[in-house]
């Protein structure tokens, strides 16, 4: 592992100010370092601010306290070096699958033919061949998320920010997508930060899992979850089951707290 982290989050706090009502301290004293090519999951109960942290790294929300640097540069605005994938896909519904994927490539200086080729490559990579000219409204949830993933991969960010990307999918599709994401990640040199509240998903996908506490969000602990992901029987292996159990115990207290506090 390289010595300098690719993403360095240092004592970041964030206050959420709703249009009405009192400001809420969403994040408090968050520090986290992510190495190049590492797969880190942010795990925590809903409302703990894990998505907020992702948006801060993405540059979609301003960093008001503390600092976030990517490759040594402080984050100021969204950039194509950090590609985001949202839970609800955020596809442009008036564009076809192909045009959605081409949108991120339009701003790159490359000939048109090469752009088309690039788009087709990623359409094939996520298994959407034959649906290039479909509109998002004609696709299933799984296919929409494949499109969103292809769109983000196509502009070649070195960091993937994934905001509960499989949370809106049914259990079977989610399973398939997890395996496919892993296989894509193993073939492309990308750093991934993956927000989820699914313990098993976090253990299966990530190298390290950062467990977050209920609001105000803090990183409670970081657990190492490296496994041989190619092992088909991983879900039944003793080590895996124990890890899931360990993390579930850590998350449960926070989930109960979040539940009690919820209005």
């Amino acid at each position: 592992m390289s010595s300098q982290p690719q993403i360095a989050i240092d004592k970041v706090a964030h206050v959420y100010r709703p249009p009405r009502g009192r400001p809420v301290l969403a994040l408090e004293e968050i520090s986290l370092q992510v190495q190049q090519r590492e797969f880190v999951a942010l795990l925590g109960p809903s409302g703990c601010g894990k998505s907020t942290l992702l948006y801060l790294i993405g540059g979609f929300l301003p960093v008001e306290k503390g600092s976030i640097t990517v490759n040594g540069e402080p984050v100021k605005a969204p950039g194509p070096d950090r590609g985001i994938v949202f839970q609800h896909f955020a596809l442009f519904p008036w564009k076809t699958v192909r045009d959605n994927i081409l949108y991120g490539l339009e701003r790159k200086t490359m000939p048109r033919a090469e752009r088309e080729e690039q788009a087709q490559h990623f359409i094939d990579l996520v298994g959407l061949g034959g649906f290039e000219d479909s509109y998002p409204s004609q696709l299933s949830g799984g296919m929409k998320q494949r499109t969103a993933l292809a769109r983000t991969l196509a502009f070649d960010p070195s960091i993937l920010l994934m905001d509960e990307p499989f949370g809106a999918l049914d259990a079977q599709t989610r399973h398939l997508m997890q395996a496919e994401l892993l296989s894509i990640w193993q073939r492309t040199p990308k750093t991934v930060i993956f927000v989820t509240h699914d313990v098993q998903e976090a253990v299966y996908l990530a190298d390290r899992v950062a467990v977050m506490s209920a609001r105000p969000g803090r990183i409670k602990t970081i657990v190492d979850t490296k496994f041989d992901k190619k092992d088909a029987g991983i879900f039944k292996s003793k080590g895996f089951v124990e890890k899931v159990d360990e993390l579930w115990n850590l998350v449960r207290d926070e989930a109960i707290k979040a539940e009690r506090r919820a209005p």
């Binding site: 194509p80 442009f92 298994g127 998002p136 004609q138």
Partner: protein, 280 residues
């Protein structure tokens, strides 16, 4: 990678089911226009029964005869053409102006501060009340008539545009930003297309409104046009002329609305609603 959740099309023919028979189609076509047919038959029947004098209720056939003779003399084309021209010019000005004001209000705090109270007060108020003012300022010709149409039809466009832009998902905008879109690209390539369905709904309210105000303005200001012709007919106790005007206005209005809904389907081919059955 396998296409694991793709739809297979092997049984497409099976899924389509049997094609509806001709008799079924005809019956369904008839059912859709039944209420209109009933109204026509009732009108003709009542007029011929002798219960009313032809002055109070001229028969539909005599009214159609009248429309035909107007068509041959060229009167019909002039009146219809003028009314449609005024309504459409007023509508187009409302469309461009309404979208521009709506966009300005969503982008700019000063524009919002200025226009918001005007829209709040102006939208629910009957703008036709401004007609005497418009007459004083602009006279009774096309400029005055089109002005009062714009004053009325621009409000639903502003309101729809404003709401549409405000409800564009944050994630869509972030995605575009992520892919390097600048402010101008964001507006033209993302915000306006995303807002299009709701803006079109506003336009679908503004179009019949333009037509209504065009006819009312013509009635009150006089001159050529369907509304003016009806008032003239009424003054000369020409009841067939009055009823001819009503039939013409109904047909013109229907054609305009239908054209608009076809245009909507064309423009929103990507939208969920394009896959759903229509009511219009």
């Amino acid at each position: 990678m396998a296409r694991t959740d793709a739809l297979t099309l092997d049984h497409a023919a099976l899924l389509e089911g049997p094609a509806p028979s001709l008799a079924r189609k005809l019956l369904w076509g008839f059912a859709r226009v039944f209420s209109i047919l009933a109204l026509i038959v009732a009108w003709e029947g009542l007029a011929r029964s002798g219960a009313f004098t032809p002055f109070v209720l001229p028969s539909l056939s005599s009214v159609i005869e009248r429309i035909w003779s107007d068509a041959i003399s060229g009167e019909l084309a002039i009146n219809t053409g003028l009314t449609v021209y005024r309504a459409l010019v007023g509508f187009l000005i409302s469309m461009v102006g309404g979208v521009l004001i709506g966009v300005a209000m969503s982008r700019n705090a000063i524009a919002n501060w200025f226009f918001d109270p005007i829209v709040s007060v102006g939208f629910p108020m009957p703008k036709i009340a401004f007609l005497p003012v418009v007459i004083l300022w602009l006279g009774v010709y096309d400029v005055a008539k089109i002005t009062i149409i714009v004053v009325d039809a621009i409000f639903p466009v502003i309101a729809a545009t404003l709401i549409a832009i405000r409800s564009v998902e944050r994630e869509l905008i972030w995605s575009a930003r992520n892919m390097g879109a600048n402010d101008r690209e964001l507006m033209w390539q993302i915000v306006l297309p995303a807002a299009a369905p709701q803006v079109l709904t506003g336009l679908q309210v503004a179009l019949p409104l333009s037509m209504i105000v065009a006819v009312v303005a013509e009635m009150l200001m006089g001159g050529y046009g369907l509304g003016g012709a009806m008032m003239t007919a009424s003054r000369f106790a020409d009841s067939r002329g009055v009823f001819a005007g009503i039939v013409e206005i109904a047909i013109v209005g229907y054609v305009l609305i239908k054209a608009m809904s076809i245009l909507r389907r064309r423009l929103l081919i990507w939208h969920q609603e394009a896959n759903e059955p229509t009511t219009a």
